[in-house]
Symmetry: D2
Subunit: 287 residues, 4 copies
């Protein structure tokens, strides 16, 4: 029974050994899958193998719902970390936001343009500022004010909400709260943040002010997966813009906004197309 | 009989069809080759398949000199354009130069740094300016002054010289003569030029002057394979640098020199590592 | 009578001669103006002098409405092209748009963020697609469908409308109609267009398609003042983004959208801050 | 007595006040100097005034050797930090180098191309590797091997040597020794270093290794004035290049070399043209 409009994507990493590409591509070939895109990387230092391969399911002899089961024996043999997804099935996303809305607006705009294949199932904020935007886009808005005292409780409720809505990926669109390790653990490599500096320069608060005081000639932005160590998660994308002595702090913030929007958008684009593998502190981005 | 220190590189293009990656990787696997790097691209518009795959020859069951013969039946079946080379075998290069020597110096410097795996077998010039540089680097220097009258004859002699020295790739390092179609045909996709503009802007002569007069805010450089149509060959690499009203023509030339050096060097880096496939007017660069 | 919150900006160009900066700065100094920013450029090839100087009007001994009159004798003596504006007085803007709304949205978003000091007095379109956006932002929307037959008449009506609303600057935010020379003449150096290529590469229609077919490794966008010669007006700002063989035409259009938005926004930012002087086919941008 | 071929450059900083530009430009005007370039900046946060102004000495009524004396009263009145130099008088430079010679070669090459107006009076190294290069360019080479014990003594001798040769600027072209505070104090804002990272990211040793381990997507280089605080001096120029998971440590080093060469060269270009003012931890670069 063919699946006319589906594209399968396998993301896999394991220790390198002979025959991996051959075995994986043969698995696809013998089930009549046509490979559309294959990108492979071997980290020679660590002898690790990474692959992203996508194939057309049109003539595939196995229905989509059985593909994972069929592939499992091979993955076990390789002792691999892996997943198979379908490009046409939208990622279920929750957007966390505080007061700044430029990253939020950018996501909504790109979503509307068809750049992201996602369902924005809900928005979470510790403030009410973004509520009108949520309403305008008919996205359920959940207000979770955070204090030192209520944080564990609020995060618990948030996690229940996310589970209930089968959220796959959480986007921190300039969300100004630090998530607890407990929260982060629940979504490993599934929480994407935008940090408004060229990490690891200017970690922590007020990076533009730090940059301004240091007198750098270039500012940056960094999108990364969130881990328990603040600002230390695997980097997905970075970019920079030139500044000069003519730019005051306000100019840095203004120029930085453009960076934040673009860098987060590019990171999300790659994540939503299942192009990112995490290995230790690093990412492999199959662009 | 193992070949301990060799890395084979297959570059192949053909019409897309099911099973290509599987068949190719199986060919390598069953002969005990370990794939080090595989990059594949399918042009969906043209239904063309492009691949670069490199593998370790250490355990390969076929000696290097027989690999091409062994692969030929498969390539014939696919009706493919293809080549197999070995990364460790240096490309034999001739550098053509006129008076400007910044690109020449850049190539020599990178060669000395070990960035290029090449033999610079000879230098050709229509002037004598670069002769001392050739001598300093102990590269045979051949002076071919070009006039409208002697050009066909000189090119004939050049071609004999190139053939005699088994030259594989010709680098035009700001060589200011236009090669005849006859000459170009002898080295298809083997002559690399650096054009001092962001092609297709400012074709022809004096691109910096054209750029200056047009008042562009960005200038560029383009490295491309030379075809019979001047400045129309497949582009390998391009890059740009910002300019402003403060830059006069001399500044553009100065800034442009840096671009020319870098863009040509990057194009050569990819070419010498057998990362470039040509298809029609375009290149596929497996970076 | 002091004008506490005003910043005057003089933009002036004339033939170079001795004493220009001294005379101009003395004019400001003797009236108790404090210079906040002064940028000067001499084109040595053409012996032309260009200056932008801004000063604080707080202690200025002349009221804002008389500044031009006071400066006129000096400007006449220099035989200069010049204007004096006040940074705090918003530029009156009309936005022309067709179907694509990404540039329009970018302008509206930046305006809302306070990046532009403008009044968007009206929107003009040959289609109805952008009407809801206009209504949402409470901007009067004027629909002028254009055919070969009605174009002169429609442009006449547009010009009346623009005059009536005292429009200073017209932004073509991906407006897909070519303005007649008659229309262009009415707003010299006051109509700003965004062209979706790195001009002068790929003039005319479908630049992304041209770029795709040429196989460039970099695409660009150009914002320029509109002159009678299509795509030949003085360039205000350009930028580029890298593309590769993996990018199909759709990808180029998607990546290009980001460029178009940013390049137009940067050009407008400089224009609205009175940082752009036009001289012949070129601009001097005092960044 | 006119000075036909000289261009004077004034670099000045002081507290902002009314009339500075007028007074300075009048000083030049009344002595028949024609201003060629004037760039001024007011730091509104610190109420500091910075200016670079260059003028043609052709008709100047004061001989070059008296210009400083003539200007001194004005500078005293402004309580300014200032200097006047002449563009045509070459800066006397000492290049310090260790084993890597790519930055050294870049400087020599640009000097030969006429990009820098300098006299390279001598080279200093703690190794002998660069001696042949010095000899080839006929630059006196001084070998100062450094140990923990002999460092103070060696630096003393170096300082005598530098004084004897009237060295104005010291370029650390990948010089791998840390200069003592005593040494640094002798050349305030006159020692220029190239650090192989995007400061303040990856301070200290092995920045490429740090960058590789952190998995950044962009690497950088930074040229700065040397102060007593290592890697904390005022930044003159920075630039970056993209890297990916495909780049190993060796690739980062290779790509970084290009950055180091270009960033150092650009910093030097601005320094040698007297375009850089230092204020606290920052530079004002009048580009």
């Amino acid at each position: 029974m063919p699946s006319p409009s589906l594209t399968a994507v396998l993301l896999l990493s394991c220790c390198d050994r002979i025959g991996l590409v051959s075995r994986i591509s043969h698995f696809i070939f013998e089930r009549h899958g046509n490979i559309l895109d294959l990108d492979e990387h071997v980290d020679q230092d660590e002898q690790m193998f990474f692959i992203r391969v996508s194939w057309d399911m049109k003539q595939f002899t196995i229905p989509p719902e059985d593909v994972k089961n069929a592939f499992e024996p091979l993955a076990k043999e390789f002792n691999a970390a892996w997943d198979i997804t379908f490009l046409e099935q939208p990622t279920r996303v929750a957007v966390f936001v505080s007061k700044y809305d430029h990253c939020l607006n950018e996501i909504l705009w790109r979503h509307k343009m068809g750049e992201f294949n996602i369902d924005i199932a809900l928005m979470v904020s510790n403030h009410l500022d973004a509520k009108p935007i949520a309403e305008q886009h008919e996205i359920p808005f959940h207000h979770f004010p955070i204090t030192k005292e209520n944080k564990p409780m609020q995060e618990d409720t948030e996690l229940s909400l996310l589970a209930e809505h089968k959220i796959d990926t959480i986007v921190l669109a300039r969300y100004m709260q630090i998530l607890s390790p407990m929260f982060v653990k629940a979504y490993p490599n599934k929480i994407i943040n935008i940090h408004h500096s060229f990490l690891p320069a200017f970690v922590g608060g007020n990076p533009y002010k730090q940059a301004y005081q240091r007198g750098v000639k270039i500012i940056g932005a960094t999108s990364h997966y969130v881990t328990e160590d603040l600002d230390e998660g695997p980097i997905i994308e970075q970019d920079i813009i030139r500044v000069s002595h003519k730019d005051n702090l306000k100019d840095l913030i203004r120029k930085g906004r453009d960076l934040e929007r673009l860098v987060l958008a590019r990171a999300l684009h790659n994540h939503f197309q299942h192009r990112v593998l995490v290995h230790g502190r690093k990412t492999i981005v199959f662009e």
